[in-house]
């Protein structure tokens, strides 16, 4: 049985904000199924009493003084904008 269906692949593509053609979805279904199948070998291990590792070093709550520091100017922030208007990022219609 396959581990991931073509419909699931299309749903995941939507979540990831990727446009996929029918052909690409087909190919991705096959490749992801293989990779996920490979990943399922982790199920051989009993990890019920194992704590997950999110970070390799023992550090938490890195705090610093709340000081005013230099920031970027509007011009700099807009330097790489694909489209802009009045110092703001311009995007296509959000409301229909």
């Amino acid at each position: 049985m396959s581990r991931i269906s073509k419909d699931q692949v299309k749903h995941v593509a939507h979540l990831a904000r990727l446009a996929v053609t029918d052909e690409e979805a087909e190919m991705l279904t096959e490749q992801l199924d293989k990779i996920i199948g490979f990943a399922e070998e982790l199920n051989e291990l009993d990890t019920d009493n194992v704590e997950p590792t999110t970070h390799v070093l023992e550090m938490k709550n890195i705090l610093r003084e709340d000081e005013v520091r230099n920031s970027v100017s509007v011009d700099e922030a807009m330097k790489n904008a694909p489209a802009q208007k009045d110092g703001q990022f311009k995007v296509p219609n959000i409301l229909e």
């Binding site: 593509a13 904000r17 990727l18 992801l32 996920i36 291990l45 390799v56 790489n80 904008a81 229909e96």
Partner: protein
């Protein structure tokens, strides 16, 4: 012998005695780049005008007797996922083809303070995803030892440019082996520092819990120099560790008597080519001859590292790469008429195949209903892999094995099946999952192509790694071999 075959300490001596100027060094570097880079294809962007001006400025400093930085006058190449103010930084992706950062990464700031000369930006697998440089969105880089072979990846060009003598040294980044594997394939020295030793501020994130910037050089001493300049806490990176930075050069004593080496049986097992095993066994003999001892050890969860890595790194990548949406920077597709469609079209046109595949895998592993089965499971196995290393390091000073299961391979040989390509990193990935440091140093050849010896150390014990690597290097001639190009 070319100027760039010399070590930093030798070049500094020649600068000091005025036998050489910084301009001479920079000229030699650009001459070599113009001579060979149309074959190697290591550079995506050259910083020539600035570099030549900077060389003149440093020459004036030399005359005036002003204080000189640690890496005074040394030409460096920077992997193109490390941001450089005003200099195009693409991550070898079409989505960032015209991106000009508005700030310098911390490592680049520190290299500027150290008086290096930033010669240009180096090719890579797109967003550091790949093991051959064939995933570059622009063009593949070739291995200087055999132009029909890959240089490895993802810092393939960082290793190739150093191997070909185009620059004295370079910076790469290593998420699952991306410094060590290409260093092995190109016959140079590459270090992945302990997670948290070098600031990631300004490194375009792939997998934030694994990524580390590190130095690639032709010899161990230069590697220690370069790490010295970039290591240390940075308030701009909250994962940057607050540790004292030792004098790495002081650790290059050649003295390894009494050193205890663990050799994991999993690193010399099935899938590792005979030529690679032979070189590693010879290297262990050399170290034995210098007074070190070695024993077989076990890292029992090694075989689960690859699956763990692909789940975790792809999950993190899917979140990190969501910032590329065509709004604030990067490519925006013209083929859309609403916002969601604009996101989708821009990302689909801008990202390459492997990047999309990993975003898909990561999004799936993090999606509702699958998170516990895949992502959380992988985080738990990561704990087991990390504990493997902790256990071995209770009794041993370093762990030694090959860097890769084989030497470099022909371009195109592994592009069909993503899983086969992933197998390249099977001996380097566990190190990233555990966050420990490791170096790859040249240890000979198999079938005419370089092989790398991997030396793995305890957290923040780069000094011992350098000590062992340097002692091995001084006792052998491997690092003196240069590609005929």
């Amino acid at each position: 012998m070319s100027i760039l075959d010399k070590k930093i300490s030798e070049l500094h001596q020649l600068l000091h005695t005025k036998e050489l100027s910084v301009t001479d060094i920079v000229d030699a570097s650009f001459d070599r780049i113009h001579q060979v880079d149309d074959q190697v294809r290591a550079f995506l962007t050259l910083n020539e005008e600035y570099s030549r001006i900077k060389a003149k400025q440093l020459d004036e400093k030399l005359v005036s007797g002003a204080d000189r930085g640690l890496l005074f006058g040394m030409p460096i190449g920077i992997k193109d996922n490390i941001v450089t103010k005003g200099i195009r930084t693409t991550c070898a992706s079409r989505i960032l083809e015209n991106f000009e950062p508005i700030y310098d990464s911390t490592v680049v700031e520190r290299l500027t303070e150290a008086d290096t000369i930033m010669m240009g930006k180096l090719n890579m697998d797109e967003f550091a995803m790949g093991s051959s440089n064939e995933n570059s969105g622009f063009y593949p880089t070739h291995n200087p030892w055999d132009l029909s072979c890959v240089p490895g990846g993802s810092s393939g060009a960082s290793a190739a440019a150093v191997s070909a003598g185009e620059v004295l040294f370079s910076l790469g980044s290593d998420t699952g082996g991306s410094i060590r594997q290409p260093a092995a394939f190109c016959g140079v020295v590459g270090l992945k520092p302990t997670y948290g030793l070098v600031s990631r501020y300004g490194l375009v994130a792939f997998a934030s819990s694994l990524d580390q910037i590190g130095p690639i050089t032709t010899n161990v001493e230069d590697n220690a120099y370069l790490l010295q300049a970039i290591a240390g806490n940075d308030p701009m990176d909250s994962t940057s560790a607050k540790v004292d930075i030792p004098d790495y050069l002081a650790s290059l004593t050649g003295e390894v008597k009494g050193l205890k080496i663990g050799v994991p049986k999993e690193y010399l097992g099935e899938g590792v080519e005979p030529g690679v095993k032979e070189r590693v066994m010879e290297a262990l003999k050399v170290l034995e001859g210098l007074g070190a001892t070695w024993e077989e050890v076990s890292l029992p969860h090694s075989r689960y590292a690859l699956a763990t890595y692909y789940l975790l790194s792809s999950s993190e990548a899917s979140a990190n790469l969501s910032r590329f949406d065509g709004v604030r920077y990067g490519l925006r597709s013209d083929n859309s008429n609403n916002l969601i469609d604009m996101y989708k079209q821009s990302r689909s046109e801008g990202f390459g195949e492997e990047v999309k595949r990993r975003i898909m895998l990561g999004t799936f592993a993090l999606s509702s209903g699958y998170y516990v089965a895949y992502y959380k499971k992988a985080q738990k196995v990561r704990t087991l892999i990390k504990e493997d290393f902790t256990n071995v390091f209770e009794k041993y000073d370093v762990i030694i094995g090959p860097t890769t299961p084989s030497a470099s391979f022909k371009c195109g040989a592994m592009t069909k099946d993503p899983l086969t390509m992933y197998m390249n990193d099977i001996l380097t990935i566990p190190v990233n999952l555990a966050g420990v440091p490791a170096i790859s140093v040249p240890c000979g050849f198999s079938g005419g192509l370089p092989i790398g010896l991997q030396i793995i150390g305890k957290h923040f014990d780069e000094a011992t790694i350098y000590k062992v690597a340097h002692a091995f290097e001084q006792a052998t001639e491997h690092h003196k071999a240069k590609p005929k190009l």
